[in-house]
């Protein structure tokens, strides 16, 4: 079983309570099972008796997680309960135990072409994945910025680098999609690949090398790329709340570009809520949580809204198109992405 590779995390997390306060889902369901401790306990049992993986409650628990990795970031030794869950989901799929809702979401992604549709001219390729495409204002803002900067670029629309399939536990299918995606992107022969969605960034920068897939061109999140343009701003961003991305904060802890871009834009960053440890992303790390657990995503959004100082007035900025979409859908919060903010200031 794949979870055997994560025995260390199982043993470390099964009796540990130290990150309970950061259990995003646990904080809205109040269920003990929605904590790293109980997930590790359940998988500890599965290690001794693999038949227990078929338990419907265990399966529900495994797919409830928001995969924010806040626990891993917080943990003194950074035990990887997130990696354990992804391995467990892979075991679930391999054993043919994937619940019907998981199969349905996977089928949607499998039906989509992995290779993106590429158009335009230039050395820069802007990848508009499904989450980014779901908020058209983001690509529009990026286009406005590029026009202002005088840079021509190509768009790679939709396409599937395999991240959603990986998160669902479909490792082989994820790898196949990733290879097709990479082949299409490499054929474009660009110098720079820019992505708005931090999940896609993680896929290209972390998952691809792990799968042995090489991309031609340097991959940048838009925050890094926009900063490199050294844009002149006609006004300052002013006071705002930046909601960290799970992927950029907890998966790539040294990724400093969103902060640097905000400073460049003249932002005065205020602390959202009460702390900078909790995930305020509506389940960004789980990527397809909205399709799998819409009720939980709504609860996560309301949890965030309840922590705003002035819910209808405050300006919230996120690096994540997914978070932008969920907060706009479920709350009255005023939220924009880094691209939208930048476009409004230049």
């Amino acid at each position: 079983m794949n979870i055997e590779k994560h025995t260390e995390a199982i043993k470390a997390c099964r009796f540990c309570f130290m990150c309970r306060h950061l259990s995003g889902i646990g904080n809205v369901t109040f269920r003990e099972s929605d904590t790293p401790r109980v997930r590790a306990l359940l998988l500890d049992q599965v290690m001794s008796n693999p038949a227990l993986l078929a338990n419907a409650d265990t399966l529900e628990t495994l797919y409830n997680s928001d995969l924010s990795a806040a626990c891993r970031y917080h943990c003194v030794k950074h035990f990887d309960e997130n990696g354990l869950l992804l391995a467990a989901r892979e075991d679930v799929v391999k054993a043919g135990l994937a619940p019907a809702d998981v199969c349905q979401v996977a089928a949607e992604y499998l039906a989509r072409p992995a290779a993106p549709a590429i158009s335009g001219k230039g050395d820069v390729l802007y990848f508009i994945d499904y989450n980014t495409a779901a908020v058209p204002a983001i690509a529009t803002a990026f286009g406005k910025i590029m026009k202002k900067a005088g840079v021509s670029y190509r768009s790679a629309e939709k396409g599937c680098p395999g991240k959603a399939l990986k998160v669902l536990g479909y490792a082989n299918e994820a790898q196949k999609a990733a290879r097709e995606f990479a082949a299409a992107v490499n054929a474009a022969n660009v110098k720079t690949i820019v992505v708005s969605n931090p999940a896609a960034y993680d896929a290209l920068v972390h998952d691809f090398p792990e799968m042995g897939i090489k991309l031609k061109g340097k991959v940048m999140h838009t925050s890094e790329y926009l900063l490199s343009l050294k844009l002149a701003c006609r006004k300052k961003a002013g006071a705002l709340y930046y909601l960290e991305s799970d992927f950029l904060k907890n998966y790539h802890p040294d990724y400093e570009f969103p902060g640097k871009l905000l400073s460049h834009l003249g932002a005065k960053r205020l602390t959202f809520g009460t702390n900078n440890e909790e995930s305020y992303t509506c389940g960004e790390g789980a990527l397809v949580l909205q399709q799998l657990r819409p009720v939980l995503v709504k609860k996560l959004a309301c949890y965030i809204e309840a922590r705003a100082d002035h819910p209808e007035k405050d300006l919230l900025v996120t690096a994540s198109p997914y978070t932008r979409k969920q907060l706009s859908t479920h709350t009255k919060l005023k939220v924009v992405t880094l691209e939208e903010l930048t476009a409004s200031l230049i």
Partner: protein
């Protein structure tokens, strides 16, 4: 009565509970029942580790208010179903384990901060809030509860109230019972009562104190008003290495007798200094590590520190300076994270007791002797972590490693319980008590009568009066089981 799972009565009760708190908040999922069958007590952890079945609840309910708690307790009385209150589940004494099945009443849905009173400096909140979340809320308003235990991230405020918990700043700011202004409690029969609004009065015995430390046996604490404090302008630490623990204890006691008000004092014995402190803090020294700090207005802190250093100067000790003290403060929780905390397959326990300065070293020595004599295969380490004007708390630990932990689970449990029996009896015989801040729970209930003598009959009488059907956490704290 214990319910037959597959009976129609079970379904009827489930429906009644759903009617009381909402169907979404009555949970019978295997994964949740499993989660509530193991807390931070070593025995259920061992039981799980050895592949044995842990005792699970029949229902997990998440009430959202005192009124809903009341409804649940009335249902439980009607059918005489055991109710075990569960906050964060991070207690080390088995107090939240549903040993007779029945209902787990999980309080975490009651997690609202209701009011921060900046005139009286108090916060009123529901008790299911995780202590870290409350502290963050209070911090945002510019204050602190000053309740900063190692379990702050996982335990609820209700858990601390139920077990008389404490935090690292207890020496100045007190244990949780010193922080409480007032409580709302749902009694076992479902009445919602409010204790007096202030903690100092001459209006009869103190009802607030009756419920603090009652570990879910006398009702469910649903709301609390706690004192809060302005964030201190400065908090400074200093550390010393003494040749031996006895000398360091004298210095620490002198510090307390001087009536200076350190916020924290901690003294590690030679064994813990050279092993555990070295591993966690990277401080490689022989002897006993004493660290203390002061907080408040900076000028006052500096003055207190100056006087404290004068006291230390009477002793032969290596001054590790403020750096040696800050090292501890910055890493105070690190001791409890995986990789640093003791864990299975080790067998370990915290023999937590408290005594006055006239007795504390005798207690320490007696516990150490009893462990060393009867269990030479075990390690014994200790530190003194909560200091008062009159004495301090001993946080002693025993640890069995490798082949010294019996493979057979029953044998391991017998060994474990034997250590507790002998060590705690040694503590009591020398002026200590069963426990200082972890509580009694399932682990130490059998020793309560020995500790209290006839006084325990008073506690039993209170229990019987408040909980005539014995539904609240039966079998814990020395009270009778089902």
């Amino acid at each position: 009565m214990l319910i037959e799972r597959k009976s129609y009565l079970f379904e009827m009760i489930r429906n009644e509970l759903a009617d009381a708190v909402g169907a979404e908040f009555v949970n019978c999922a295997d994964s949740d029942k499993m989660g509530h069958s193991i807390d931070y007590y070593w025995i259920p952890e061992l039981w799980h580790d050895r592949g044995k079945e842990t005792k699970k609840p029949d229902f997990v309910v998440h009430p959202g208010s005192a009124e809903e708690v009341s409804k649940v307790l009335k249902i439980a009385n009607q059918y005489q179903i055991p109710v075990t209150t569960w906050g964060g589940g991070s207690g080390s004494q088995g107090g939240a384990l549903p040993v007779y099945g029945g209902i787990i009443l999980d309080t975490k849905r009651m997690n609202k901060v209701l009011q921060i009173d900046e005139q009286s400096l108090s916060v009123t909140c529901e008790t299911g809030i995780i202590a870290r979340h409350l502290e963050w809320e209070v911090n945002k308003a510019g204050y602190s509860t000053m309740h900063l235990p190692a379990s702050i991230a996982c335990a609820t405020i209700g858990g601390f109230l139920a077990h008389r918990g404490t935090g690292v700043l207890s020496t100045k700011w007190g244990k949780i019972e010193d922080m409480v202004m007032s409580l709302e409690v749902v009694t076992p029969t479902g009445e919602i009562i409010q204790t007096l609004p202030v903690p100092r009065h001459a209006s009869g015995p103190d009802l607030t104190m009756l419920f603090l430390g009652s570990e879910g046996t006398l009702g469910v604490i649903t709301k609390v008003t706690l004192k809060i404090h302005p964030q201190p302008e400065a908090r400074k630490f200093r550390a010393f290495i003494f040749e031996d623990m006895h000398t360091a204890m004298s210095a620490g006691a002198d510090l307390m007798r001087s009536r200076l008000r350190p916020c924290a004092v901690r003294l590690y014995d030679e064994e813990e200094t050279s092993h555990h402190v070295k591993r966690v803090l990277g401080l490689d020294r022989k002897g006993a590590y004493l660290v203390f700090g002061f907080d408040g207005q900076e000028k006052i802190v500096d003055l207190e520190m100056e006087y404290a250093l004068q006291i230390m100067s009477r002793y032969k000790a290596e001054d590790l300076g403020s750096k040696g003290g800050e090292l501890w403060w910055e890493n105070k929780y690190k001791f409890f994270y995986p990789g640093y905390m003791f864990h299975l397959p080790q067998a370990f326990g915290t023999l937590d007791t408290v005594a006055d300065f006239a007795h504390i070293e005798k207690v320490y020595q007696a516990m150490k002797d009893v462990v060393k004599t009867n269990f030479p295969q075990a390690r014994f380490i200790g530190h003194f972590s909560h200091w008062y004007e009159w004495g301090c708390m001993l946080y002693a630990r025993f640890i069995f490693e490798g082949e010294h932990v019996p493979a057979d689970a029953e044998e391991a449990v017998a060994l474990y319980n034997r250590v507790w029996d002998l060590a705690i009896r040694a503590a009591i015989a020398n002026g200590g008590v069963i426990n200082e801040h972890h509580g009694v729970g399932l682990k130490l209930g059998r020793l309560m009568k020995e500790l209290y003598g006839d006084g325990f009959k008073v506690l039993e009488g209170i229990k019987k009066t408040l909980d005539p059907n014995n539904i609240m956490n039966p079998g814990k704290m020395g009270f009778k089981g089902v």
